[in-house]
């Protein structure tokens, strides 16, 4: 019974395709692909709508107010209202803008964001597109985001836009390195770039209770934290939202966009966030596997989305809690701290592997990480640099 619930979506697709039994093979292929795309868009656009209102509500709660509660029950129809508003707004294009580039930028950014969603396994047998180098595909397509952001900045022919785009590209470039390098230990340990394999490698349980997710190894934990922070930067979220910091440069590269184009940017940002979180779940949090063997009766996709929601909640939580950092601090941390630590994760994973993947390896890799972390904090003089600031005149 639980198995059929688990496989309800693949079975439904099979049933759908069985209607085309007599058609040529390419037609079946096309329909299959279209079904996948359709399902993806449906799920994630719904999720986008849901999260956009949830974020506002959670933020409101953090800031001790109510948040949207007028449209529909608990304000749940707010995104629909927002969507209608966005759609019927006037689409303003600056007179001296590079019209084509200005138009293509939101298209490209949304397209890349949605493409990256395609390789993540959402449940048992529920990977929309199985590519041999899925992880590489994720990053290859994701790197086009930078081009899109640049196009937005350039096409608007606006100083704020250009500056915002430059900032965004600078920080995205800087954090793409730790982001990718923190993925490497997982790829190394699993020996595959395929997300399905990575998920499968985390299937076992120690004593049937503690899952063998990579986040529970020292290198995995360290890599996950680095990955998460880099993900925050990649999706331009607080506390790393200098590219669109409204108090400094209006809205960065989105300054000259309005109406539906603006909504597209907004959506692309959220979908990028989903994709990064989804990848994090796949790589470190065991993908769609249940956290304990007994809990496997609950369908796999439910687990995936539960984990995804937890991560998204942390994103929102961080946004509600932390102030915006300065650009030079962001850059410093990327090159001086994140990058060396990311490399350390690779070494620690190797140590873990060669020490037998058991308790011994666990302790050794912990040692490596602790040593490098300590050395780095001494070298970078973090105790002094990150000390609480003393305000001498403000009190």
């Amino acid at each position: 019974m639980s198995k059929s619930i688990d496989q309800v979506f693949p079975n439904a697709k099979q049933w759908l395709l069985s209607w085309l039994a007599g058609s040529p093979s390419w037609a079946i292929q096309v329909v299959s692909i279209l079904t996948n795309i359709f399902a993806l868009l449906a799920v994630f656009l719904t999720l986008f709508a849901l999260i956009s209102v949830l974020e506002r509500k959670i933020l409101a709660r953090i800031q001790n107010r109510y948040g949207p509660n007028r449209v529909g029950p608990f304000g749940l129809f707010q995104p629909i209202a927002d969507g209608i508003k966005m759609l019927i707004k006037e689409d303003i294009v600056p007179a001296r803008a590079d019209k084509i580039v200005h138009f293509l930028a939101p298209v490209l950014i949304a397209a890349t964001a949605i493409l990256t969603l395609g390789v993540i396994p959402y449940g048992r047998n529920m990977t929309p597109f199985t590519i041999d180098g899925g992880i590489l595909f994720f990053f290859a397509v994701g790197s086009a985001t930078e081009l899109a952001v640049f196009m937005a900045g350039w096409g608007s022919n606006n100083k704020f836009s250009m500056l915002g785009a430059m900032r965004a590209i600078a920080q995205m470039f800087s954090y793409e390195l730790p982001l990718i390098i923190t993925v490497l230990p997982v790829v190394m340990v699993v020996g595959s770039l395929t997300p399905d394999r990575i998920v499968a490698a985390q299937a076992e349980y120690t004593f049937g209770l503690v899952p063998r997710w990579f986040v529970f190894t020292p290198w995995g934990a360290a890599a996950f934290i680095l990955f998460f922070v880099s993900g925050l930067v990649e999706s331009n979220r607080t506390p790393f939202d200098v590219p669109e910091g409204e108090s400094e440069i209006v809205a960065g590269h989105m300054t000259e966009y309005s109406g539906f184009k603006y909504a597209t940017f907004f959506m692309a940002e959220y979908i990028g966030m989903f994709a990064i979180s989804g990848l994090g779940v796949t790589l470190f949090l065991g993908g769609w596997h249940a956290p304990a063997r007994v809990l496997e009766i609950i369908p796999s996709y439910v687990w995936f989305f539960v984990k995804l929601s937890v991560l998204l909640f942390v994103y929102i939580w961080v946004r509600g809690t932390l102030p915006r950092t300065r650009i030079d601090q962001i850059m410093n941390v990327a090159w001086k701290f994140m990058l060396p630590m990311a490399f350390t994760c690779i070494i620690a994973a190797a140590v873990w592997h060669y020490a037998g993947r058991g308790l011994r390896g666990w302790l050794w890799s912990l040692l490596v990480i602790v040593i490098v972390y300590t050395a780095l904090s001494i070298l970078l003089d973090t105790r002094r640099k990150f000390a609480q600031r003393v305000y001498r005149f403000a009190e």
């Binding site: 041999d132 290859a140 790197s143 086009a144 081009l147």
Partner: protein
């Protein structure tokens, strides 16, 4: 191998490449350049070299194209519109194309269809890179480091 896909991809690639070579606005040309490389990556996918295609997209769209647009941004003053066009180049290019095509068509042994081969997995490429190609790989690493530092030093603001 799919003929329809081939036609679509080649038209896309060649059109984008031609746009990159001829468009007046530099920025549009650079973006067309990126599109052309997407097309080439698609070719690689079509030929079964997924990894190379992904690497191509990763490097060219993610890095080289961004570098080019940044360079355009930094040298913006005199190039809003690039007027100069050298027609002799067109003649030479066409001549080269004709020569090459003629040579290719003349060689009968080239008109073959692709045999069935084992899928080229990332694992196989990785094994080759780490065994028989490990020295070239190291050399490339060195070269990239040198290029990185060299480019930095070149582009750094000169002290006066």
């Amino acid at each position: 191998m799919n003929g329809a896909a081939f036609i679509v991809i080649s038209i896309l690639t060649l059109a984008a490449a031609l746009a990159a070579a001829t468009l007046r606005k530099l920025m549009h040309a650079a973006l067309s350049f990126a599109v052309a490389f997407v097309g080439i990556a698609a070719f690689f996918f079509l030929l079964g070299a997924e990894f190379v295609g992904l690497a191509l997209v990763f490097i060219y769209i993610g890095a080289v194209a961004v570098l080019i647009v940044f360079t355009i941004l930094l040298t913006r003053r005199d190039i809003e519109k690039d007027r100069g066009f050298n027609w002799s180049g067109v003649i030479i290019a066409v001549a080269v194309f004709c020569g090459l095509t003629w040579a290719i068509l003349k060689t009968a042994s080239l008109s073959i269809v692709a045999p069935h081969i084992r899928a080229l997995t990332v694992k196989r490429i990785g094994e080759a890179l780490m065994t028989s190609y490990v020295w070239p790989l190291q050399c490339i690493g060195l070269l990239l480091t040198a290029a990185l530092i060299g480019a930095l030093v070149l582009a750094m603001e000169e002290k006066r």
